[in-house]
């Protein structure tokens, strides 16, 4: 018998600090599978800002930079501009990317920074114990929306891919999910495409991955996948929101 599935080499062989059933682990793995398949671990620089994934520098075997909260795209810009031949990615959560780091996100996108942004959207601030995120769904109960997100008080969720798809600097904006095997495969393909874009110097690629937070959602991991499927995906439809080069080819 031959091994048909094992841990990718660029994913350090340690147990993560993530809660049981947290799908960060799946996203880490498919990202590392892409890095392995492209053979680029030695030429890759990852940037992880504050959030549950802040300690991802212990999990990815490529060189890693920890960034201040929300600033990963700026840090990645500095790293990429000074090392245009390296692959630079950020791995950011929803609070990080769509609240405190909105300016950095929008402007790195509109500049067309040749980087890959992995945006993990689980509709909550996980690390601080489950507060309202910019992507928290209307009605969703969190620590800071104890009666459910009231849009009269707290406004509406940010749909990041839709928003960024209006910017000319964006090469690829795609939303995927990791609630099922087909979706995980699709997510991996999207990440691969984003890295290929960087290789071909096509500019800014963002892959928004709808993810779970069983602990702060107050659900079992299996129930959390159900919520992802039945509540999150309908509000945040999956798909390619912008693929600049496919559009150009089509023209």
């Amino acid at each position: 018998m031959a091994v048909v599935f094992e841990r990718p080499k660029s994913l350090v062989d340690v147990s993560t600090h993530y809660c049981p059933g947290c799908t960060h682990g799946i996203i880490h793995r498919i990202l590392c599978e892409v890095i392995d398949e492209m053979g680029i671990e030695g030429d890759t620089i990852g940037v992880c800002p504050v959030g549950c994934s802040v300690m991802a520098y212990d999990y990815f075997r490529c060189d890693m930079i920890e960034a201040p909260h929300g600033r990963a795209p700026a840090v990645a810009t500095g790293a990429k501009r000074s090392n245009p031949d390296k692959y630079v990615f950020t791995y950011q959560g929803d609070g990080d990317l769509a609240a405190i780091g909105t300016a950095e996100t929008v402007h790195s996108a509109t500049r067309g920074e040749n980087i890959v942004v992995i945006f993990v959207n689980n509709t909550t601030y996980g690390m601080t114990g489950g507060q309202m995120a910019p992507t928290t769904l209307p009605g969703q109960v969190t620590q800071t929306t104890p009666f459910g997100r009231d849009t009269d008080l707290a406004g509406f969720p940010v749909r990041v891919c839709e928003m960024l798809s209006t910017l000319d600097g964006v090469a690829l904006a795609q939303r995927v999910a990791v609630d099922s095997v087909p979706h995980v495969r699709e997510a991996k393909n999207a990440i691969r495409k984003a890295f290929e874009n960087q290789k071909e110097k096509k500019g800014f690629s963002i892959i928004e991955v709808l993810s779970t937070c069983p602990t702060n959602w107050g659900l079992t991991p299996i129930e959390a996948l159900g919520r992802l499927r039945n509540e999150c995906i309908p509000y945040y439809p999956l798909g390619v929101y912008k693929d600049k080069y496919a559009e150009e080819v089509a023209k």
């Binding site: 700026a74 810009t77 500095g78």
Partner: protein, 351 residues
């Protein structure tokens, strides 16, 4: 050596390029904008990167990213913008990253004004962000010193793996003076910690300021402070002027020191034994140099373009051995030599 007439802000930029700065990230703010404009013209030709960031916060974090990969990087701003950079500077200090930050000070607090000021002394030397740390702080007093100190700031930042600041002011930034650029023998400091892709030839590098175990964080900070102690021993600088027989020592830095020097000269002409000690490094503060300069002094006059900030360090350095008087102008008002002379005479009359 060739001498050029240059504006302070532009001289800072040219010196940085010659010191091997490969990345400049900035955001417009008066009175330092010429620096970014100069970089925009020159950097690409010099084989480097110029990028106008979306904010001061983004700019300092771009410096953090570039510096993490081992490249010499710089940002510049003026007082309100430097406040925004505080977050990034703290992270850089916590990650042991070099980098140069220029503050061409203007009046504060808040939006304050756009005239020269020295009201960010405390910020630069005490609280350039949260947490236990220091940055190197250089205080040029002429356009030539702006050149020399930028080069030194890059070298020492790399050597000690910490951010360095040039604390200038609007007067110096806007002033034109002849400068010469020394032949740069840029130090090549190995950076085995840099996150520039491990090429499968070494273990992966991590640039990081997070330590969740308290004893780990304590140890890291303590080690950093041991490094700071070494810098305090070896890298303080001050100019001593007519201190040998001086009974009154004027302390001033930056543009204010030029005014103070005129006042000292005028006081000497009037027969008063007055000298000056001008700190060139504000952190580390030149404690030894100040005490040497004050060996025959009976009183000290600290002159600043603020309500009195460096005076704290002067008092700490002298450790209550001498009375320390203060004269300051703030909000963008520049003291005149006559103002300072009058203060010297007041102190002289009471001796």
């Amino acid at each position: 050596m060739e001498r050029n007439l240059m504006k302070g802000n532009e001289a800072l930029a040219e010196a940085a390029i010659r010191a091997g700065c490969k990345c400049f990230f900035g955001y417009p703010i008066t009175p330092q904008t010429e620096l970014a404009a100069y970089m925009a013209k020159r950097m690409a030709k010099a084989g480097g990167v110029f990028l106008q960031a979306e904010s001061e916060i983004a700019a300092i974090n771009m410096v953090l990213g570039a510096s993490s990969t081992g490249v010499r990087a710089m940002t510049s701003s003026s007082s309100p913008g430097v406040s925004l950079k505080a977050e990034g500077v703290s992270y850089m200090a916590g990650s042991d990253l070099p980098g140069v930050i220029i503050n061409v000070q203007r009046g504060g607090p808040g939006l304050g004004g756009i005239q020269p000021s020295q009201a960010d002394y405390w910020q630069a030397t005490r609280a350039m962000g949260h947490g236990d740390f220091h940055i190197l702080v250089f205080a040029p007093s002429s356009v030539q010193e702006m050149v020399d100190m930028v080069i030194k700031a890059f070298d020492l930042a790399d050597e000690f793996r910490m951010p360095a600041m040039i604390l200038a002011d609007g007067l110096l930034g806007q002033m034109m003076e002849p400068v010469s650029f020394p032949e740069i023998t840029a130090k090549t400091i190995e950076k085995p910690w840099a996150t520039n892709g491990h090429k499968n030839a070494r273990k992966h590098n991590i640039v990081n300021s997070l330590y969740l175990q308290a004893p780990d964080l304590q140890r890291t900070v303590q080690e950093r402070f041991e490094r700071y102690e070494k810098i305090k021993q070896t890298h303080t600088e001050a100019e001593s002027y007519l201190t040998e027989d001086a009974e009154i020592i004027v302390t001033a830095y930056g543009a204010t020191a030029r005014v103070a020097k005129s006042a000292v000269n005028a006081a000497r002409e009037a027969g008063l034994k007055v000298g000056m000690v001008r700190p060139k490094t504000l952190w580390p503060f030149p404690v030894r140099e100040l005490n040497e300069g004050c060996k025959n002094a009976k009183a000290v006059l600290c002159v600043e373009m603020s309500m009195g900030q460096m005076i704290d360090d002067v008092k700490l350095a002298l450790n209550c051995s001498l009375p320390v008087h203060f004269f300051g102008r703030t909000g963008g008002v520049i003291p005149t030599p006559n103002d300072v002379l009058a203060e010297i005479q007041k102190i002289g009359g009471a001796l």
